[in-house]
Subunit: 281 residues, 2 copies
């Protein structure tokens, strides 16, 4: 069920400024927000909005805070470290089926997040995606910065999108680096920044070399990715890593990838001379 005009949306906020970007977007659209800041993760910007703090490992507290305010729709946003085995032990009592929790936690990111969504659903909440509550944070189609994408990059971007689409069946690969007609790296659980550091190494060790810079980061959501909790994102740090890796641009699937701190991201990209573009997946 979509957001009803004037409705109050709950944001479960981990680290980073992204939860507040969502909050601002929701308010711009004329709706209301309430933030549950996860203790130890949520940043100070929480205080700019109505909020409480709660412990990630105490789901009762999170759910009660929402129920008390009659909030039924929530968005999950921001980073949280994966809890260690000891920390998880304390959360076990909350779950009806410990075996299931164990399976969830030892599974891929998708599985963990699907588990969290199911928990909210079972408790009567609806988990909305960023694309539903703050669609203006997603990359639109076309050039986003002032640097234009070259036509020569198009076959590589096609290759990257094709590779990502193919890898989705393995719950693997939210991003690839492509260049000169080849796939250079596929992102696994290590994340985009670690993959881009690998691309630095590949060139340093002459495992790959180019006549002229041509490598591109291509990012899109995975085939069965749950858009409610895990839309892919790029931010200023992605631009920084991309520049270090000698890339000439970043292509993201339009209406599918979040631009975190968009203004800074595009300013940094412009200054570094790399393109950022939303492309048809």
């Amino acid at each position: 069920m979509p957001v009803v005009p004037g409705e109050r949306i709950g944001i479960i906020a981990g680290s980073g400024d992204f939860p507040f970007e969502i909050a601002s977007s929701i308010k711009r659209a004329g709706n209301d927000v309430f933030i549950v800041g996860l203790r130890g993760f949520a940043e100070r910007g929480v205080r700019l909005f109505p909020h409480v703090y709660a412990d990630m490992l105490d789901p009762h507290c999170v759910l009660d805070a929402l129920r008390k305010r009659d909030i039924r729709k929530v968005v999950l946003a921001g980073g949280v470290a994966r809890p260690g085995p000891m920390a998880l032990f304390s959360i076990y009592t909350f779950f009806r089926n410990r075996e299931e929790l164990r399976r969830i936690v030892s599974g891929g990111d998708d599985r963990i997040l699907r588990g969290v969504v199911r928990l909210f659903n079972e408790e009567g909440f609806e988990v909305l995606g960023v694309d539903q509550v703050a669609p203006d944070l997603l990359a639109p189609l076309g050039s986003l910065g002032s640097v234009q994408m070259n036509d020569e990059s198009k076959p590589d971007i096609e290759l990257g999108l094709n590779c990502l689409a193919t890898m989705g069946q393995f719950d693997f690969g939210q991003a690839v680096v492509v260049g000169g007609g080849r796939v250079l790296a596929i992102e696994g659980p290590e994340g985009t920044d670690a993959m881009l550091r690998r691309v630095v190494e590949l060139q340093k060790n002459r495992r790959v070399s180019f006549e002229k810079p041509c490598a591109i980061l291509v990012k899109a959501s995975k085939l069965h990715q749950d858009r409610r909790v895990d839309l892919p994102a790029i931010g200023p740090k992605t631009v920084q890593s991309a520049v270090k890796a000698g890339l000439i641009g970043i292509a993201v699937a339009a209406h599918d990838v979040i631009l975190v701190e968009k203004a800074r991201l595009l300013r940094d990209a412009d200054r570094s001379g790399i393109f950022v573009a939303g492309v048809k997946a």
Copy 2:
């Protein structure tokens, strides 16, 4: 054309002991060998066989040494560093089509090797694969060491083989690490050892965690891989890296992957308690 009994086979030898393992295997089969050791790469074992030295960047010298001995069939074996741009410049004069060489050298490993094979072919030589001249160096089907593979590993190995088969279309992935029903890493141009170091990091940073060790290295040749020059291989170093990464075993496609220094490889695997098995791809 297969090897004629008693025929003399040329081995173009890069670094490592593998060229000599091939030479020994060829002799065991009753055929003869002559080694062209690439200067700066070929190791001292060259001296155990009839040989000359030649410069990798001087194809004339390599080809003349073979022609002088009436050798028409060659095997390429051992490692060579990818030559730098300046070194390559000197080889340019040899090639009719510089643009083509440039394309070859900036392409994937497959393309470089296909280029070398084409060069030999154009000069009237036949390039044979290790599987043709020394099939006893390939992994057979079944358990190879004394540690047995557990039945629980079978679905993960299936997943790994399936993932490799799928990735072949992108000329990417000669190996994957799988465990607990997920793909953890796919090997790119960085090579198997670097991928296994990534798996160490994934666990250290808790990007992946397991209740009990279950991760497996799965290796097979790529879909369009040229079996004459680039059969995948595992050796003692692979075992060492696999143990460091906390893996429980190595599964290789039977009759498709070379076992380098097989005796030491299996002894090390047995001592470390990890399985090595040839599986049906």
